[in-house]
């Protein structure tokens, strides 16, 4: 199981959870699992053709998956997956 950290702006769509435990051997599998549970997230996380949206960064153990293997980045038990969109407020 990986721990998925949910940004504050998306929490209302996942029942207010700050983090979720999800199974999956890759970032893509975990994201799919998340969307299966909370279909409303799909448009926020993925493009129409199933790629990660450029405005949401995904980090595995603090590393941006864009510089790992993207959605194919392998996950081990207890890895931390963090979803992070840009914030506007100043």
């Amino acid at each position: 199981m990986s721990t998925v950290k949910i940004p504050a702006v998306l929490r209302p769509q996942v029942g207010g959870n700050k983090e979720l435990e999800l199974a999956g051997s890759s970032v893509g599998a975990v994201v799919d699992g998340l969307i299966e549970q909370y279909p409303g997230l799909r448009g926020q996380l993925l493009t129409d053709d199933g790629q990660l949206n450029r405005f949401v960064n995904v980090y595995v153990n603090g590393q941006d998956v864009r510089y790992l293997d993207g959605l194919s980045t392998a996950l081990n038990d207890r890895d931390e997956v963090r979803l992070l969109p840009a914030m506007a407020g100043g």
Binding site: N53, F55, M87
Partner: protein, 405 residues
């Protein structure tokens, strides 16, 4: 039988190794720590290049900070070579094993035509105002003079800009520019501590100027009472040493990023949402830029500003102060900035998380290819903004800050 001054001096001479000005002049730079033990007023008249100043009366208290390694070579000097002998005895009492005193002192050094320099001069009032900075070896009089000669630009005098500008003003950053075209609103005062109740309705730039100048008259405040747009961004940021980004629209953030990369000016970035904040320092070409981090902005519903989402007032306060810390390090050239690292703050957990950031080799603004293209006058096309937004080319027409800044 009481000992006389002559006895004590004789004893010190017997105990302490002495070196000549010629010996000291021949040392490789950094081979030994040279400590000037004269009084402040003597130091101000000139000193050996690279020397550290610790008045004899502060030697016990300050030497460990200046020279942590008790086995490294320390050479002390004063005006004529006597006070430094006694100070050297103190160092030996403290366990320093390789201490020497320069015979003849600064007078002989100078009369032999050896190089010396005059320290930056601060007024008596400045010495008192910045005394806590002057005590820190990493800042000192030179660092303080550097801050006084520095220029910092604040994009927005709001939740982030307020604490950041106050602290940089207090620190003696000599020129503070403020870009904001908004007026103070009652709803700003929950966090925008530059402004006050009686200034509701006044221009934020003027209110900020009043507060800053009341805090520190050393600071020159330049107000830029205008929207940051494509047509003026280059003119406004020109000449600043660091930019503190406290805006709350993506259009302005991208516009600022692109111009700052082109002008090679570091931008200290922060943004907030309710109980959370993000912070990093963009140092062009050393680390990523804002477009490397977020190639496109999110749709509005995924990134509401403070006026829509709300924010705990202290969150921009904390993030703004961290911005001030980053800006000071950039200006002083000390420490490690957050270039290449994104710091997340969660006020509910009181937790900080650090994420690793990288430069995007395909970045349309800061990649090698982008720089070359700009130099040739054919800048790379920047991808269209995301959902519900406009093209980058139009970004310049967006206003800075909006009603909540």
């Amino acid at each position: 039988m009481p000992r006389t001054y002559a006895d004590l001096l004789k004893e010190a001479r017997a105990q302490i190794r002495e070196v000549t000005p010629a010996d000291v002049d021949a040392l490789a730079p950094g081979a030994a720590t040279i400590v000037d033990v004269r009084e402040d007023s003597e130091w101000d008249q000139g000193h050996l290049p690279g020397a550290v100043h610790i008045s004899k009366s502060y030697v016990e208290q300050q030497i460990e900070g200046a020279v942590p390694d008790r086995d490294s070579e320390v050479i002390l000097y004063c005006a004529g070579g006597v006070r430094s002998l006694f100070a050297a005895q103190t160092l030996e009492q403290l366990g320093y094993t390789n201490v020497a005193s320069m015979s003849g002192g600064f007078q002989q050094w100078k009369s032999q035509g050896r190089p010396w320099e005059k320290p930056v001069s601060l007024s008596q009032e400045q010495k008192q105002r910045y005394s806590r900075h002057l005590l820190i070896p990493e800042v000192g009089a030179e660092g303080q003079a550097r801050l006084l000669g520095s220029k910092a630009l604040f994009i927005g005098a709001g939740g982030l800009g307020s604490p950041a500008a106050l602290y940089l003003a207090a620190a003696g950053v000599g020129t503070i520019g403020i870009v904001d075209f908004d007026v103070v609103d009652l709803s700003n005062l929950q966090r925008q501590i530059l402004h006050t109740n009686e200034r509701v309705g006044q221009r934020k730039t003027e209110s900020a100027k009043q507060t800053i100048q009341a805090l520190n008259p050393d600071v020159t405040v330049i107000t830029h009472e205008e929207m940051l747009v494509a047509d003026n961004v280059e003119r406004i940021i020109h000449g600043y040493d660091v930019i503190v980004d406290g805006t709350d629209t993506f259009e302005t953030r991208y516009l600022l990023n692109d111009a700052a990369v082109a002008k090679n000016i570091p931008v200290v970035h922060a943004s907030v949402f309710r109980f959370e904040g993000q912070l990093t320092t963009f140092i062009p070409f050393e680390g990523p830029c804002y477009r490397c981090l977020y190639p496109t902005p999110p749709p509005p519903e995924l990134a509401p500003g403070c006026s829509v989402a709300g924010v705990l007032g202290v969150v921009p306060g904390i993030m703004g102060m961290l911005q001030a810390n980053e800006a000071l390090k950039v200006l002083l050239g000390i420490g490690d900035t957050l270039a290449g690292r994104l710091l997340l703050f969660d006020a509910l957990d009181s937790s900080f998380t650090e994420l690793k950031l990288r430069r995007d080799p395909q970045c349309p603004v800061c990649s090698t290819e982008a720089v070359a293209a700009r130099a040739e006058g054919r800048p790379l096309a920047i991808p269209q903004f995301g959902v519900g937004s406009s093209s980058a080319a139009d970004a310049g027409t967006f206003v800075l800050g909006g009603p909540v800044a």
